[in-house]
Symmetry: C2
Subunit: 259 residues, 2 copies
């Protein structure tokens, strides 16, 4: 995974007025799942005690989606991540211009650049769910660290980023009810308890085994492999894989969309 | 329903740079349903052969939601409409600045005002579903007419408004699968065939009566009234009303959200 050279980002922001549209920003909420842990990708800002979602601005010839992908690459090193827009955050008080300028000065951002940050920004939130064991986040020049945090103990966040994160989590949980999930997160062959664990981790509660199985089977997205997990002491569980054709159809239509 | 004085809107736009944030716009897709017809609220632009969604801009101290409500009031006279944001449209080519300026001049918009419109706008789409027999749309100073059009024969639209409308329609249809619909559209007491007709009109296809009834009953949002429609020749159908408590719960959680 590549990262844009830190000095380039600095240069870009020094000329922010020239490169970016005024008033519009974006923030990326990247959830990471692996081995039944759900985490969130955050930046530890330089000289600040607060964390931030990787966020950025929009160049004159970019769509919001292109800007989000570029921002995530520049600020965290993550590439080829599918990002989905979910909500616009537009409270005029979401950022206090004076506090923001002070924070930026603490972080070593020069005065000219800090001035541009004082304007009001309306931010579009994007979210994504990736396997955190497969990506290698790296901080940009404004951050001391870029790492995966547990949802439960992540510390204070800048601006309204905590609200953006909570909203994204709600959207992800709702998505579980209407779209299949798990492809690219589970191994190609998985057991039903493994799939259930994925759902339980995201929903943060236990599910009834029988209800869960009845429901996922009713979607028609699972293929039974007539093959068992080997190397297990007793009662080896059967393996399944996703029926990709049905999975994609369900993604498009919503799991229970048929009237 | 009141409408802002036309000259006020003109004045507002003459000083657009002072009043509005640059680069950000919004467009309202207002669907109207009544007696099994689904319509869309559009403006017929002055001296143009094309129709437009009611759209506008954001004042410095407004949220996007507040701006959408004000815009709809100013441009169509509609008040107290619940608008839901659904997607940001950000293709840099969604508007050709030269064409836009020419159109505005044809509509009698002065040169100073037209210049401001040449900039790139990223637009947030809002949608709503109302009973079109209960509202009284009125055009603003830029429009010859503001009226309800059939979805099937509505003529050419400006910019990417056709794409925004189609996207909103997809969102409305998806919403049918995951949220209850009908409150504020149907009379307080209604029959199951009336409810089914509402769904069929929005989905634009026939539904199987038995499947439909099984499904809506399973949501627990209907209250059987033990009362029949009077004045019907034979086989008078039973009346139902929405169980508002269950309806609101389903609105919040999604109809089949439980795992």
């Amino acid at each position: 995974m590549g990262n844009r050279n830190g000095e380039d980002i600095g240069q870009l922001l020094d000329d922010a007025e020239k490169h970016f549209l005024a008033h519009i920003s974006l923030d990326c909420v990247v959830f990471g799942w692996h081995a039944n842990e759900l985490k969130i990708l955050l930046l530890k800002m330089k000289n600040l005690d607060r964390l931030a979602l990787p966020g950025g601005f929009v160049m004159h010839q970019e769509t919001m989606e292109e800007a989000a992908i570029r921002t995530l690459r520049e600020r965290t090193g993550l590439e080829n991540i599918f990002l989905q827009q979910f909500q616009v955050f537009s409270d005029p008080l979401r950022s206090d211009p004076e506090n923001r300028a002070k924070d930026l000065e603490k972080m070593g951002v020069n005065r000219k650049r800090a001035a541009w940050f004082r304007q009001r920004f309306i931010s579009l939130g994007f979210y994504s769910l990736v396997d955190f064991s497969k990506v290698d986040p790296r901080p940009d020049i404004f951050s001391d660290a870029c790492s995966w945090y547990n949802l439960g103990d992540r510390g204070t966040m800048v601006l309204d980023h905590d609200h953006i994160l909570q909203t994204a989590l709600g959207v992800l949980r709702t998505q579980l009810n209407h779209q299949p999930i798990g492809y690219n997160l589970l191994p190609r062959k998985f057991t039903l308890p493994e799939l259930q664990k994925l759902y339980e981790t995201i929903l943060d509660r236990k599910l009834d085994r029988r209800n869960f199985q009845r429901k996922v089977f009713s979607y028609g997205i699972l293929r039974s492999l007539d093959e068992k997990r080997t190397g297990v002491a007793h009662k080896a569980p059967y393996l399944y894989s996703f029926d990709l054709r049905q999975y994609q159809k369900a993604l498009k239509l919503g799991l229970q969309g048929g009237w």
